[in-house]
């Protein structure tokens, strides 16, 4: 048996990896025993903090009067930009993103100051009593207005290949359109929170609900004027992240740490839902303006897309989000002549940030809308038009950004999902239904997803892990990945248990901590198990190799004859327990601890040319969705969804199934019921679940068939040949939006494509229907 190289591991008998094992915290979750930061016992003297947030979208802060707040019983103080001892900056990529507003208030919900008191309630009440002196300025809320005013947070990015303009000019058919896509609030159930505990000599321990403990550590350090080694960030679990806790947790952790540093008392800062929704970023809403040239069959000869992305007030991660949009506008389609441009529009709204899919959903929604439009206007079946544009031998395998598609499973997943969904029978049945149903219309759509796995920025594709074997044979595991519910911890523990062939409960899962594994990347871009799983594999394997040597010497056999199995170590008919071997190794002064590091191979990216091989590999999935639409009210319902997702050889198919289902429903929510709404003054008015509607249990399609692609090991050398799962299935939710378009299109008949904005709220659906009935009126 040899699993030194994980790509060979697919040939070995596996006992733990590949099993559908429950989430490690499942029993604690259901009993209310899983500890989140707000549940931790509070140290004596703990302060609670609340933010003072800008009530205006744009203004100049002339000053503030905190005297009424300071007079509230139990209030310990009010701190703002002037009180930051180090550098008032939490920019994740670019400097210049102050935690506390200085003079400029550039969005409603901008952090101005932090108030701390003996109780949460006192802090909140006091925060409302801070009198702000603001000169209000006109706000830019609309992305198109920002674009017209050339108001950007970053220069534009362009992915270009061939001659798109020339190809379009020469094409037999030219189509164009504009697609508006709404943003999305993460609506993690646990709002942002941090608990900062001051130590001796200025040290700071910060418990943060963050996907990026290293970034919290670094920003807290420079806010407080400390070296990074004086700050530790720990994360046991988050109550959901979805990208919302990738960069912007630093705002909350930084302010809590500032209070702790100023007062010498522990400080907890938990955001009320409204403050969380007003004060932290969301998925970027986009406008996509496009022009496509095709042949008679709908083959895309040239495509130009210009994206206007709402960055909000600051860059945050917008540059990288746009890069992913530009590298996913192709989705599954070969486009020889492509010109994709992304503008990072600066508006007086909260800085948008990472959200599951990270720009990919906007790119994929755009190309799917384009394909759907081309097919309908040419009078073809959209699935046929999709297929003739797929990457493959008849088209090509080079993406517009220069990466070859080497592991193409598009036809495989498409054919399988069409078959399992009984596409042909249902297409016929739905068409017949519609012919006899003037008011309720049904729609059906299929779409594929190809999603690139790795951070676009090559340097982020690295991870570390720390594994200890104790003398009783129990194992301690730590790595840089964070647990936000996605099951990363159990997956990585399975990898370690697999290496040592011990029961999973012998592997102790521990909080992510910057003091144990340093300089980590955010748990993001679906890379958590790829990166941390491999780092843990390397650490565990190094220890096992040393233990093998000890065992071989003990039994007087060669290393090859030593077998780890079921918690014991065997040589022929003899065996000892894993713990006995650990003790033996210790007695021989053999190291039973290892810190390992993994860096994803093969990837590179030229951010100037926007070319390279940014992704280690692609994942593939396909979905078929059926909906019903009420043409009197615009109400919709997804009746059935069939999903097939490529996960390579899954580390834990039960966890992966949960990720697919949850991501699909979240994607469906983005495109149907979830709508962010700003008033004319740039104030977000959907700041709680009473106004911002995420899907509920009844919104899940009553027929929901989700399958993982069988026998599909990753051709790249990933951990046990698995593939990433966190983000790709979110985009399968686009099938629901396409099915709504299909239902609307049934009213118009052949040759007409509906114009449907996203999300397909009842109002937007009814508007699309009205446009079909009276196109001239709707255009005005």
């Amino acid at each position: 048996m040899n699993i030194e190289n994980p790509h060979q591991a697919k040939t070995v008998q596996r006992s733990i990896v590949g099993r559908g094992i429950a989430h490690d915290s499942a029993a604690r979750h259901v009993a209310g025993e899983a500890t989140y930061i707000d549940d931790m016992p509070e140290l004596p003297g703990t302060l609670h903090a609340a933010f003072v947030l800008s009530p205006v979208a744009h203004g100049r802060l002339r000053g503030f009067d905190a005297s009424a707040a300071l007079a509230v019983t139990g209030v310990a103080g009010v701190w703002s930009a002037a009180d930051v001892p180090g550098i008032n900056d939490v920019g994740p990529v670019f400097p210049g993103e102050p935690l506390f507003a200085e003079e400029l208030l550039d969005h409603e919900g901008r952090v101005i100051a932090v108030v701390a008191a003996d109780s949460f309630e006192a802090a909140y009440r006091a925060a409302r009593l801070v009198k702000l002196d603001i000169e209000e300025l006109p706000a830019v809320v609309d992305v198109e207005a920002a674009h017209a005013a050339k108001s950007y947070v970053l220069p534009p990015q362009t992915v270009s290949e061939g001659d798109a303009a020339g190809a379009i000019a020469a094409a037999p058919h030219v189509f164009s359109g504009k697609l508006r896509m709404g943003g999305q609030d993460h609506f993690y159930l646990e709002t942002h929170i941090a608990y900062a505990i001051p130590g001796e000599g200025g040290d700071m321990l910060v418990h943060s609900s963050t996907q990026h403990p290293t970034e919290v550590q670094h920003h807290v350090a420079h806010l407080l004027g400390l070296h990074a080694n004086a700050v530790e960030c720990q994360v046991r679990r988050m109550g959901g992240g979805f990208g919302g806790k990738e960069s912007q947790s630093t705002i909350i952790a930084g302010a809590a740490a500032l209070v702790a540093a100023k007062t010498g008392r522990p400080c907890k800062l938990r955001l009320k839902r409204r403050d969380d929704m007003a004060g932290t970023g969301k998925r970027h809403d986009y406008v996509a303006i496009w022009k496509a040239g095709t042949d008679n069959r709908g083959r895309i000869l040239g495509l130009e897309v210009e994206y206007l992305a709402r960055a909000g007030n600051l860059p945050d991660l917008t540059g990288a989000v746009i890069t992913r949009t530009l590298t996913h506008t192709d989705n599954s389609y070969f486009i020889a002549n492509a010109h994709f441009v992304g503008h990072a529009c600066k508006t007086n709204t909260v800085s948008n940030t990472a959200f599951r899919g990270f720009g990919g959903p906007q790119g994929i929604l755009t190309i799917e809308a384009i394909i759907d439009t081309v097919a309908r206007e040419l009078g073809h079946d959209p699935n046929d038009v999709r297929r003739i544009n797929y990457y493959g031998d008849e088209t090509g395998d080079m993406t517009p950004y220069g990466q070859k598609v080497e592991d193409n499973r598009l036809i495989e997943v498409t054919d399988a999902v069409l078959a399992s969904a009984f596409w042909q029978e249902r297409r016929r049945e739905i068409d017949e239904y519609n012919a006899a149903s003037p008011i309720i219309r049904r729609g059906l759509a299929m779409m594929p997803v190809k999603f690139g796995i790795s951070f676009n920025l090559t340097s982020l594709n690295q991870a570390g892990a720390l594994v200890h074997v104790y003398l009783d044979g129990s194992i301690f595991l730590n790595h840089g990945g964070t647990e936000m519910g996605q099951g990363l911890f159990v997956k990585v523990a399975q990898v370690v248990a697999e290496v040592f062939q011990v029961d999973l409960d012998m592997v102790k899962i521990s909080s992510t901590a910057t003091g144990k594994v340093p300089n980590t990347s955010a748990t993001a871009a679906s890379t958590g198990s790829d990166l941390n799983g491999m780092a843990a594999f390397k650490a565990a394997t190094a220890i096992r190799t040393r233990m093998t040597d000890v065992a071989a010497e003990h039994f007087g056999v060669t290393q090859e004859e030593i077998v780890f199995r079921e918690g014991r170590v065997h040589a022929g008919n003899e065996s000892i327990s894993f713990g006995e071997l650990a003790k033996m190794a210790w007695a021989k002064r053999v190291q039973l601890s290892e810190a390992a590091h993994y860096a994803t191979p093969k990837i590179h990216w030229d951010g100037k040319a926007m070319k390279g091989r940014p992704f280690f590999y692609f994942t593939y999935g396909a979905a078929v969705a059926e909906v019903a639409v009420d043409t009197l009210t615009g109400e919709t319902r997804c009746l059935r969804a069939d999903i097939l997702q490529d996960v390579g050889s899954p580390l834990n198919p039960a966890i992966d199934l949960g990720q697919i289902e949850g991501a699909f429903v979240q994607g469906m929510g983005w495109l149907t019921c979830e709508e962010l709404w700003w008033d004319g003054k740039g104030r977000l008015r959907t700041v709680g679940p009473s106004t911002y509607k995420i899907p509920g249990s009844r919104d899940v399609p009553p027929q929901f068939n989700v399958r993982i692609l069988d026998n599909a090991p990753n051709r790249e050398e990933t951990i046990f040949r698995s593939k990433a799962i966190g983000e790709p299935p979110l985009m399968l939710g686009i099938s629901v939006w396409l099915a709504i378009r299909d239902a609307i299109a049934s009213i118009a008949g052949k040759g007409v494509a509906p114009e449907l904005d996203a999300p397909a709220t009842p109002e937007n659906v009814l508007r699309a229907i009205t446009r079909l009935e009276a196109p001239a009126e709707a255009a005005s």
Partner: protein, 471 residues
């Protein structure tokens, strides 16, 4: 007068001298440090804070889920409170076990609240089908799982015959009478048992907060908008808790909860029952009352348009006077009503269906469950020989108050309900109303939909399937 709040917590009797306007969530987390119950939104919409409340009656304790974030400690006096920690005895409760085995949790933050809701279902409805499961889950949001494994866990527990809630003995709970008055830390919580006592308090304590279920007022409290130094609760007033049925009417005391109303109106007005099921959530309907829903006078409340179309009369009472009025006359302007400071809503009389009467109410919102109406339209007609003899049509979400639309009614009367009549009714609706634009919908959308509901009503009565949820 009591100077503590007495109740059972996870089977153990408690005697707590906390301010009665402290939220139950705040007390659970900071007092006994039962941190399984979470704050997700503090507005009664996400369900992470759900707890079970039990009342003794008919030899058993009946439990229902409620939102602890918007519920005050005063409201649990004399009752049994069960949290997620209390469901787990020596072993996990069957709902907990099924959820743990089924992959029903991911991040786990919503999980305790979902366990509570499903435990409430498993105790009350051993025959629950998927609709009932969704009804039970409508007040709980999960952002991770996509719900499928949660629904499956629920099916499993229900399929195995349900499960009981561990709690106190019935006799022990029954012996715990709610105190008429609780005074702690300078705050007073009155719980009169008789209407006369309530009315006297109302007269003598003009500054006190009149509290019914608290599902609206509690949101402001949870957001720290002021203390309630004195509260008059209607929850235990016998007359307000009464339900009467006569040959012609259903009579509800104002403090009857929507969950109780639902059970009684369902046989007579199935469409109203469907609306009530979409009214908040199980948690909200178990606390929120029919009188409170009227008294709070929200322009987007779903009860009033349906009740106005049904021709409901309400009775207002003060210590010196009783008066009745049609519900549509109660609403004067945005959040302004006929109710005087010393009055309360005493009762609501719903007429039973007349011969030839058809009633439908349609709620349009972004999400089917637990959303606030963009438009809520209620249509009631009485037909004789195919001709509409009388009509009552009312809307919510279309004006500053729940609004009856006489012009739309006139358009139907004397006609058969054909396409022309529906079109005339729609035109009248368009002309009569001028709604606002907000995050729930633009004025134009609201008007279009309100008018289109006339056509939906016509098709509905002709037997067509008119709602996507019916597919």
């Amino acid at each position: 007068m009591a100077n503590s709040i007495r109740f059972f917590l996870n089977g153990q009797k408690q005697d707590v001298a906390v301010r009665p306007d402290t939220t139950v969530l705040e007390w659970l987390r900071s007092g006994p440090r039962l941190t399984g119950t979470k704050e997700g939104c503090a507005e009664g919409d996400c369900g992470a804070c759900s707890v079970l409340l039990g009342d003794a009656g008919d030899g058993e304790i009946r439990y229902h889920a409620a939102n602890s974030c918007i519920m005050t400690m005063g409201q649990i006096d004399g009752r049994a409170l069960v949290t997620v920690e209390g469901l787990k005895g020596e072993t996990l409760h069957p709902v907990q076990a099924a959820m743990a085995e089924n992959g029903s949790s991911q991040c786990g933050f919503c999980t305790p609240g979902i366990v509570i809701s499903l435990a409430g279902l498993a105790a009350n409805d051993a025959a629950a089908d998927d609709h009932a499961i969704h009804d039970a889950l409508a007040g709980n949001l999960c952002r991770c799982t996509g719900y499928r494994p949660i629904v499956e866990a629920a099916r499993k527990v229900v399929g195995e015959g349900g499960a009981a809630i561990p709690g106190p003995a019935v006799a022990a709970l029954a012996a715990l009478e709610p105190a008429a008055e609780i005074a702690t830390s300078g705050a007073v919580f009155h719980q009169p048992q008789m209407l006369d006592d309530l009315l006297k308090l109302r007269r003598d304590r003009p500054g006190a907060v009149l509290l019914a279920g608290g599902t609206d007022l509690g949101v402001a409290l949870a957001d720290f908008h002021g203390d309630w130094n004195e509260v008059i609760s209607t929850a235990h007033v016998r007359e307000l808790r009464s339900i009467e049925e006569t040959p012609t009417h259903l009579g509800f005391g104002a403090a009857v909860t929507w969950e109780e109303v639902l059970a009684r109106v369902a046989p007579f007005y199935p469409s109203f029952a469907t609306l009530i099921r979409r009214f908040g959530s199980t948690q909200i309907r178990s606390m929120g009352t029919i009188g409170g829903n009227i008294g709070t006078a929200s322009p987007i409340g779903d009860g009033p348009p349906a009740l106005i179309a049904l021709g409901v009369e309400i009775e207002l009472a003060s210590s010196g006077d009783r008066r009745t009025m049609p519900l549509e006359d109660f609403f004067l302007d945005y959040r302004k009503t006929e109710m005087k400071p010393d009055e309360v809503i005493a009762s609501i009389r719903i007429p039973k269906p007349a011969v030839g009467q058809e009633f439908r109410v349609y709620k349009i919102s972004k999400r089917y469950d637990q959303d606030i109406s963009t438009v809520c339209g209620a249509f009631s007609i009485v037909r004789e020989g195919g001709i509409v003899r009388s009509a009552r049509i009312a809307f919510g979400g279309m004006a500053a108050i729940p609004k009856r639309v006489p012009e739309a009614e006139t358009a139907l009367v004397g006609k058969s309900l054909d396409e022309d009549a529906a079109r005339a009714c729609a035109a009248a609706i368009r002309n009569a109303l001028s709604p606002l634009s907000d995050w729930r919908g633009s004025a134009q959308y609201r008007l279009t939909v309100a008018a289109n509901l006339a056509e939906r009503f016509r098709r509905d009565l002709s037997g067509e399937t008119v709602e996507v949820m019916a597919l």
